[in-house]
Amino acid sequence: MQVKEYKPLIVAFCCNWCSYAGADLAGNNRLNYPADVKIIRVPCSCRVNPMFILRAFQRGADGVILCGCHPGDCHYTSGNYYTRRRMAMLFSMLDYLGIERERTRVEWVSAAEGAKFAATMNEFVEAVSALGENKRLEDLRCKR
């Protein structure tokens, strides 16, 4: 039997104005981060509603990270302040239901922080790899 090497699938929601540009910069600077990170661009971090996070897990993500502008720098002034409360409460609830807390993260990455973007992703992928496959919040029908 052939054993497939385990590679985590990571979904990264990145806000258009900072973090997505930060990811771009990481690319331009030829910094390495795993290809297992799939970026979804959103207009602002506060565009991400809790259902997006759950859906990502449902469709097979092993970890979900949400990146936005640093507090104070949101291009819609206050979007990321709402994100901060919403995600804090959602992640705490997921933890309460017994879902590993290392699978979720919020990180603020500016357009100038290409290196931070790459480092964050490397670190997150490593943390999720250590946990293995997401079994607790999965939908068997969506398994590849």
Binding site: L54, R86, S92, M93, R101, V106
Partner: protein, 331 residues
């Protein structure tokens, strides 16, 4: 046994109906059995005299009924509110969900309501129930000798952990002004938080897998008043119960609790109506507890016009990671 009597409430309702202050009365009516008291709109004094009840089974929270009813009725509606119901009343007013001008609210003092499931577990084959000073005198179909059940042993969970005997809204109060109680309602949440992730996961899998997706918890909730609920959308994937995977149960319950986070008054209706006895209050109270700990004490519905914590922020809020790890890495 309730301190206020049925007659006191009835007389007041009849008086308000006859002097034209109100046009109809939203009150409790006896159901098929003594324990299934149901909400009813009474239109006349005669109807009231015949059907109106007030006893230890008046658990229904009327606040949500106002959302649709005040739109449809002529004139004013008289509504009876227990202390916990008044929080929902204020919260709905904050959200502009009914017209205050069309409602005349009487606050009714409450001694706690009975959990029918607990009573049925204590006594089999109930045929009639009478409230006495010693407790509920229950007659069964098997036996002529009534059993007396102390009300403290069969109270609803929300009454055992009652958070307030104080009415926060009314036009007129019957009974004494109560007080806010320092209840132990977060103890169970704290106990769960102290478990390992594996134990919590097992606990919730066990509870959530009982859900039959009847939507009763949503329908009874005075914070869930959207006309088009996300869960009515066929694309939500949870429109009906899917037996294939536990994901849908988790999603339904996370999102249901999340949508009322910061607005849930902890009225306890969801847990009361659940036919599967899922402890939904443990989900709601987790959000309340987190909000209290991270953003300052907040009781939804305490006053009209308060800003719910999840539509608010401060510049110094904790980061999600800090919230998760605030009790140490593992706990």
């Amino acid at each position: 046994m309730q301190k206020i009597t049925r007659e006191q409430l009835l007389d007041r309702a009849v008086a308000l109906l006859s002097d034209g202050t109100v046009n109809s009365v939203l009150g409790w009516q006896k159901g098929e059995f003594d324990y299934d008291v149901t909400p009813h709109i009474f239109k006349s004094a005669d109807e009231l005299k015949e059907g109106f009840v007030w006893n230890d089974f008046c658990y229904a929270n009327f606040s949500k009924y106002l959302v649709l009813k005040t739109d449809r009725i002529e004139g004013k509606l008289l509504v009876f509110l227990k202390p916990c119901d008044t929080y929902s009343f204020n919260q709905l007013l904050t959200e502009h969900r009914f017209d205050r001008e069309k409602v005349y609210a009487i606050g009714v003092g409450c001694e706690g309501m009975v959990d029918v499931n607990k009573l049925k577990a204590a006594v089999d084959g109930i045929s009639s129930i009478e409230a006495t000073e010693e407790g509920l005198k229950v007659t069964t179909i098997y036996d002529d000798e009534p059993t007396v059940v102390a009300i403290e042993n069969v109270l609803l969970e929300r009454c055992v952990n009652c958070k307030s005997k104080k009415h926060v809204a009314y036009d007129e109060l019957m009974g004494e002004e109560g007080e806010i109680i320092d209840s132990a309602r977060f103890d169970e949440v704290a106990a769960l938080e102290a478990m390992t992730a594996d134990e919590r996961f097992a606990f919730w899998q066990n509870e959530l897998s009982k859900c039959i997706r009847c939507n009763a918890c949503r329908d009874a909730c005075p914070a869930c008043t959207c006309e088009n609920c996300v869960f009515n959308n066929p694309n939500s994937g949870v429109e009906t119960k899917a037996p294939v995977t536990s994901f849908e149960e988790q999603m339904f319950h996370i999102i249901r609790a999340y949508h009322v986070a910061g607005r849930c008054t902890d009225c306890g209706e969801c847990s009361r109506v659940c036919p599967q006895n899922i402890p939904l209050h443990l989900l709601n109270r987790k959000f309340i507890k987190d909000i209290n700990e991270c953003y300052g004490d907040y009781q939804a519905g305490e006053e009209v016009g308060m800003r719910a914590p999840l539509v608010d922020y401060t510049l110094e809020d904790l980061e999600p990671g800090e919230v998760l790890n605030r009790r140490g890495e593992d706990a």
